[in-house]
Assembly symmetry: C2
């Protein structure tokens, strides 16, 4: 391929959003594709991951990762094909996952630590799955549940955002560990999917039923592990139903990310005291050394048919700003992925 | 002693308080002292412990211990002298600690599990200290810090209510473990005491200075363990200064116990995620089997002079309702104790 002839379209952060990101918070740029220098590879981006965490990356201030700078290409995980390589570790035609950013082409060092370039095997699962169960969300669910939640067989594991990328993995891993897996999701369709397709033991439709009643019905023996992706009122209500020595994994708080008022703290946090329970935060990057371990396990389950995934694929780099908003409105059904180019 | 002639004065819970307990929430009763039956002992109560947790015991509803029933003698820990015994385990003249309740005499089984009758040694430390560092608050501070907070030498341990019963112990145990101990207390006198008498490395007067500035000054390397006795705004501010893998011990929330509006949840709880930190509740009763271990260690420090205690002693059973309010106004200086009778 004559990459010099190609143009790289990009989406950059133009302004720090207040509340939900607006169209004017983004700028679109194009520049010639950069040829790889020694040690670098050039990746054609095929799919991009859309994640709630992106909203946090757009804010100024200290967090677990530096914010995206104004004018920078928006950070995003992607999968793509190596189309030129000057690294001994990757060959043209290899498929990789990496923090490519919201653009059509990524050129960078094959050993760039932040980018985290890793070879992926499209034979094991289709490319979008490498942004889902075999990518960051899967790693988040797997290690968050097994290392922070640490459920024992027979315990009840509850997860919010159950039809979403992380939630899918949490519930299915819980089932594989011999736990009772209960989801919380918005809408009948999502709940049906979670139970009928993913094999959860139950799912509470928080949009159409009372969460309190749902918890009584589906978690009659209380909640041993709650994997929280949403925060807000849902976290607060779950706190009233946790068991002695329960563990709450704080993975995210999508309900609060676009707040223009202070985050709603969990009013019932003293339930931690009464129940000698633990609430602990997790960030997937801490487990980077062990991703391969989880990929092997989940990959095997996928091939056996005992682990399902669902992606919600939106077409076209141009759709990035609109697609991101779908996450915060709960409009995606399954892991939200942007298709940038044909494989 | 002819105990049949004696009258037992009592303070009972007459109504469930809304907000701060009012005089009308209590009733005073008297009844003849009951002689011990087989296996029982009769204890003359000398000192009673006044604790923030009492406010929780007055509320209806599920907690870590059943509420005090309406019309029942108010629950309280006490120390006293055995004045009649029909148990082989205790002799007349023994000093004991037990959940005696707010009354002058307690008659009950020597092996009553809830009452937790234990022999104490007035030679090791004066009786009020057995309601402080060698009693529940000391056990709470010792096991909460060592088993839940688990600080390592060189780490910064921060404790609120530092001049109070639990706080005194937490900071001094932290110092003994080689940690930097910083307190939070209300008023210059309390802060001076915490630093000059108890040997903390620093103390922030939250009533007269900005907690945020105080934390920057006294915890320049952040907070590794925060032992929280107060909740509310203080917990929320501390959350902004915790370190990677910090541990927050939720021991109590005195600022919230008399709320008539919902408890203020910690708005900055997502700092747990950013810092992969843990917030965990503790209840001292879980460590009952190990009290002797802590009593030996702290008792030895007291005798060596490397551990100080301070009690604030109020005279007379009649003063119970008024004394309890002192806790919630922060008017006590040191562990608050009610003297019921001369030793």
């Amino acid at each position: 391929m004559n990459t010099l002839a190609a143009i790289n379209h990009q989406v950059r952060l133009a302004a720090r959003p207040i509340g939900l990101p607006k169209p004017g918070d983004w700028s679109r740029t194009e520049e010639p594709v950069r040829e790889p220098a020694d040690g670098e590879i050039l990746v054609k981006v095929l799919y991009l991951s859309l994640d709630p965490a992106m909203r946090g990356w757009m804010n100024e201030g200290k967090s677990y990762i530096p914010p995206v700078g104004l004018g920078e290409v928006m950070r995003a995980g992607g999968v793509g094909r190596v189309i030129a390589s000057r690294s001994p570790h990757f060959a043209e035609g290899d498929y990789v996952s990496a923090l490519t950013g919201v653009q059509e082409y990524w050129t960078g060092r094959a050993d760039d630590k932040l980018a985290g370039v890793a070879r992926i095997d499209p034979q094991l699962a289709p490319l979008p799955v490498w942004l889902n169960a075999l990518g960051m969300p899967g790693m988040t669910g797997y290690f968050g549940l097994t290392e922070i939640g640490r459920p024992k067989a027979g315990e009840t594991v509850l997860v919010s955002g159950a039809a979403g990328a992380v939630g899918q993995t949490v519930g299915q891993v819980a089932r594989h560990l011999g736990c009772r897996a209960i989801g919380i999701a918005g809408g009948r369709d999502k709940c049906d999917f979670v139970v009928n397709e993913l094999g959860f033991d139950g799912c509470i439709d928080y949009k159409n039923t009372s969460l309190r009643d749902g918890l009584k019905q589906h978690c009659p023996n209380g909640v041993d592990v709650y994997f929280d992706n949403v925060g807000g009122e849902i976290l607060d209500t779950v706190l009233t139903r946790i068991n002695f020595k329960a563990r709450i994994v704080i993975c995210g708080a999508i309900s609060q990310y676009n707040n223009t008022t202070p985050v709603k703290g969990p009013s019932n946090y003293l339930s931690l005291l009464v129940n000698r329970a633990r609430m602990e935060g997790m960030v997937v990057f801490d487990f980077a050394e062990r991703y391969q371990e989880a990929v092997q396990i989940i990959g095997k389950w996928i091939q056996e048919g005992s682990f399902k995934t669902r992606e919600d694929i939106v077409e076209g780099l141009d759709q990035f700003p609109a697609a991101l908003l779908m996450l915060f409105e709960g409009k995606n059904f399954g892991k939200l992925v942007l298709r940038v180019a044909a494989g």
